[in-house]
Symmetry: D2
Subunit: 388 residues, 4 copies
């Protein structure tokens, strides 16, 4: 019989970046003597056109307790709302059957609030990872709403902790653990490249090139509140990269309002132009992505990886547009608007200057075990009240 002091911790993985951000936490929960991991995999983590993350998860040795399709097709504003609702309906049933002692909810996606709300209404305490950060857009509304619903807060740094507390959360429930995404970055640095060859391992679309001579990485997602401009936004980047003619790894966007438009623009661009120096990937394991990143000359786009992991890794970043607008950032980031000329200039500046120093702005690489320990010890309360 299972020890009564063992806590069942349920984690819901719904997308590529969520898995990358939480992977070391999963490992630490699984390996903790007083924790039992309950894993739910759903939403875009199951969808083939984005490269099913569930395959990666299984390969990493995790077997989900439940899988759940919850994305309503359309990739627009309406269907994002509906996916959130459908996710709540299904997660409520699953939580009711798995009966976890605590649920971990990650970041600020629509599935995050579906997870947090479902658990809250079921009187299951919620631990929120990555609260208190500032980004603008719907993500920020959702992130702070999740903070107000959650009971335990694992934040990246003191700025985030301060914001969570100022929103009225009890300081005793706010913990600066660092962001677990940095753990992976730290591990990848420790391991080195080990002859990693992305062409051989992942295929992808486009011809191979010599990585030794330097390469760029592009990852640009739709901005949900500007999703109607997605075509224009991606085209400026495509133009900039085309003009530079520098070897480039390009990643398909996340599933979100606007990603269809981005994918379509990329496909049209490929049909129109001869761009043999760009190689397209759907999905790498989180480690392999970081391995690619750490070896790159510059990351281009609007991924939060540029703000977070790249800061720890010292990789130069050209951050485009509003998606990461107000995030706390390190010295490695140059911000530009959606303009091919400015994007091009910023990349060239970085190529000229080279790498930056490691900063621990988003964590020191030990968040996973720290959060697992916390989950095994923290008082489990569902009641809370604003502190003012």
């Amino acid at each position: 019989m299972k020890d009564a002091t063992v806590r069942k911790v349920c984690v819901v993985i719904t997308a590529r970046p969520s898995y990358a951000r939480i992977k070391t936490v999963l490992e630490s929960i699984r390996d903790h003597p007083r924790l039992e991991l309950q894993l739910i995999v759903g939403a875009s983590a199951l969808l083939e056109r984005f490269g099913p993350v569930i395959d990666v998860i299984r390969k990493d040795g995790f077997e989900p307790n439940a899988v759940v399709y919850m994305v309503v097709e359309g990739e627009n504003l309406v269907t994002t709302a509906k996916s959130t609702g459908l996710g709540m309906v299904e997660l409520a049933t699953i939580f009711d059957n798995l009966k976890p002692d605590i649920v971990v909810s990650i970041a600020d996606r629509y599935e995050t609030i579906a997870t947090a709300l479902a658990a809250s209404y079921l009187n299951i305490p919620v631990c929120h990872v990555q609260g208190g950060e500032v980004t603008g857009s719907i993500d920020e509304k959702v992130r702070h709403a999740v903070t107000k619903i959650s009971n335990v807060h694992c934040v990246a740094n003191t700025m985030a902790a301060e914001r969570v507390i100022r929103m009225g959360e009890d300081p005793d429930t706010v913990f600066i653990t660092g962001c677990p995404s940095i753990d992976l970055a730290s591990r990848v640095v420790a391991q080195g490249q080990n002859g990693f060859n992305p062409f051989a391992k992942y295929g992808g679309v486009g011809s191979a090139f010599n990585m030794e001579k330097g390469y760029l990485v592009v990852m640009q997602h739709p901005v949900t509140t500007e999703y109607k401009n997605s075509e224009h936004q991606i085209e400026e980047t495509l133009e900039a990269i085309r003009t530079l003619g520098y070897p480039t790894f390009w990643f398909w966007p996340n599933v979100d309002a606007g990603s269809d438009r981005i994918s379509k623009s990329i496909r049209r661009f490929r049909e129109l132009h001869h761009i043999p120096f760009i190689h397209f990937f759907k999905n790498l394991t989180p480690e392999d992505f970081l391995r690619l990143l750490v070896g790159s000359k510059c990351l281009v786009g609007n991924s939060s990886v540029g703000i977070r992991e790249a800061s720890f890794l010292g990789v130069p970043v050209v951050n485009i547009g509003t998606r990461q607008e107000r995030r706390d950032r390190g010295a490695n980031v140059i911000d530009v608007i959606y303009d091919k000329k400015l994007i091009q200039d910023a990349i060239q500046r970085h190529l000229h200057n080279g790498r930056y120093q490691c900063e621990t702005l988003y964590g020191d690489g030990k968040a996973g075990p720290r959060i697992a320990n916390l989950l095994s010890e923290v008082p489990l309360r569902i009641e809370k009240c604003i502190s003012y």
Copy 2:
């Protein structure tokens, strides 16, 4: 053709108390030259066993643009979560078809966050009424989460305004309008009783009594985080009232986790005891309820009406248990725990002391037109960012 400067304001009514709280706003929107009212009626406002509020709404001259069943049966924690999800799915479709310019979301129920989240993901600005209040329990989590999602805040008083701003909302979006529920109370006072006879008008169950000689009103809802104790909680009150033997109007509880248990306890109590001095009602029009309240010697239970409207009306209140725990309250409230003796004593103290003075703690009775004006003028923005 409709004037382009006319704003479509969509209000979602999902329960008896929500309708009472928002009715004067509905009237003011309908009558405003630059506003068009879109009314959605759903959830427990459609359910017969709670007395369908939709009939009252139609009688008041409002014709809903859409009705939507969204309560998953079970009245427990799981089904509350699932009802929230189902509500989001359906409201997203309805909003997408009605295309409102702004959505009004009321208070802190599960339908409130379903409404606010669905609208937010659809990039429709959300006006939240009754934010910034403090109550404890899941309602408080949901209320503050809705604040973090909303774009315009209509709050009851300066304390609420201060809390909303401290949570990081832009002070330019926070308006002290008073709570529209007080408008109805004010109107009922102005109209007087006019020979109102609840027995004749509503029937109900139990024998009639002479209202002239004084009566109590009982309204006690389940506390969702304590729903397993609902039977015990209601039985203490039933015992207290039985012992007093004072003429009493008793109202069935709201649909929520635990209300089945309360209803069952009341039925069993009725079968066991001869209690001819208690008359049971399902649902009165909001005005008639206030009419009944203003004529009563004391309100007993845990309804927010005791904290809010009763404060304006000067009606003595015995507030039981944790449901209204941390709300700002006036001099008219005596707080007691779930204990028949203490409940009985508090009622008797009130019966001895009589009525209190009018307080404008929750509003001055003019919130409806104030909010409608605001909705016609306030800048409609969906973007927002925490202010620190």
Copy 3:
């Protein structure tokens, strides 16, 4: 490791009568060496106001693999449709996680078609129990639609088999197993009464009476296509029973469009009239219900039990209205319309004549093991084509 030749059989129980009808099949599956039982309990089987069947199921030693709330509250036509849809959404997820080799779907309720459709779209073969029967009303549409979706048909008798085959099903997939509901009846007869005292065991509402002197059993459900007349329909029966003044056990109706109206009428009737000779029950175990039935002088109402089990048991039945209209029936049934006088006369006629002979019209009491064997051997095919 589980033997590859063991088939996983998933049964979905969603209501009191479905459980009664399938119980011996569950037992036989559980005890079969080459079958593994996967049990899902949902819909009204979880709802307290109908007496949660899940408690009975657990007491009988079955532990569900999943429970799922799927009833949208309202008990009207709209919510029945929505419950069917919600059930499909949830059952699809559950089937996808449990991965059964075959799904068993029972009779003709809305959950039946939700179960059968979800399984079919998942390419899981469906075994339908109780197809080919004739009843009229929406149930009949649903029953025959389920036949057209299903791959294996376990029917009650040759008439049913013939109808299934005439609808175009391959005769090789149609098996006359008898209805498993008769198995329980047969078992109860074998066990005898054993001092069964329903008052002591179930409580219920109303005073106890001496069962030795004879009693009636009333079970009358709403007719979904006539649900607006539910009040009138039940009142005629209430009047008839009141006039007779004979000791009576009365059962609350199933959850279905109209059951709220019936429950309300019964409550109102009880408040109006002094009827000490009627005792009300919510839910007995299937065996105890049959025990009560076998000892009764007459069953009154519109339950299919009157047509099916009562025929095997030889219990006289007064069948009211259209609900069982076209079912094949035995000599023990007198059919009447909704008319208090006719109902009263028919009861008196039965009281005068006494019990009937056992008929095996719906089975010989050995359906459970027969169906389990079938499930272990029948070819599992999902493809099928109309036979003409």
Copy 4:
């Protein structure tokens, strides 16, 4: 005020082919003095990656009363089941708000049964178009299940009528109207080509060619019960067409389990091979597709258009695989298995022989007005009973 004798007819359009099949019915309903058209557009008819049919619908002058996203993303078996459930939930709400007198449900897709079931549970009579046909696969199960739920049957020919009646439907409710898809074909023949230039009008992907010299049309959908073989199935066709080197218009597949696999295979094929003589289209208006078809030398694939419209138009067809397996077909069809050599040979045979004579196997081109008239006159009954 609307005349009480005007019937509200609600039609649900959910996919490209459904719209094509029902368009003349929509026109005839709209133009009928005693009918009012209520149009709902949902599911894949809204999805951009399949070319949103709703744009075509609006251009044709129809304004939907409601649009509804209901496809759960994943394009596999689980999500098809979930989409059906989600569709039922949403359509029930919409029907409840629109209150149609009759609902028209088309063919055999998952949305068809969602439509028919939702309407049935709401006691709205259902008119099913295209019942009684034989095809094999899950579609056939669904089609016949819809027949058993529906109240009025508009079938294509005497064989279909006979099957519907043999399934137990009342012959008085079965009408041989012909299939309305043939109406469009007939109209297109009457109008002639009128200088139709698909390259100019639709763009598409791939270079233009001279249509005067003859061309093929390929339309191959996934077979849901064989969806794991979708890649192989499409590759044989791709190989056959590549070898022939004949100018070809190729259409992307329907949204269904397996269509992602097909799309991916086509994209990979395009990257691998130089195939300038294939031009890819997403979506044409139904008329333009027929215009393209009538001018083609041969239709290749597994679309039902090859069996139905092509028979009326006399266009040669190479029908591949099991999808149309048991349909009644004319002389213009050569059936082959998934084999590049056989596909190639069959095309060459047709190219050599040329066009066929017009057959009215699926209709004479006047179904639209015939069905509209029927809808205005047919007795509206919801009750029905199997006829044996």
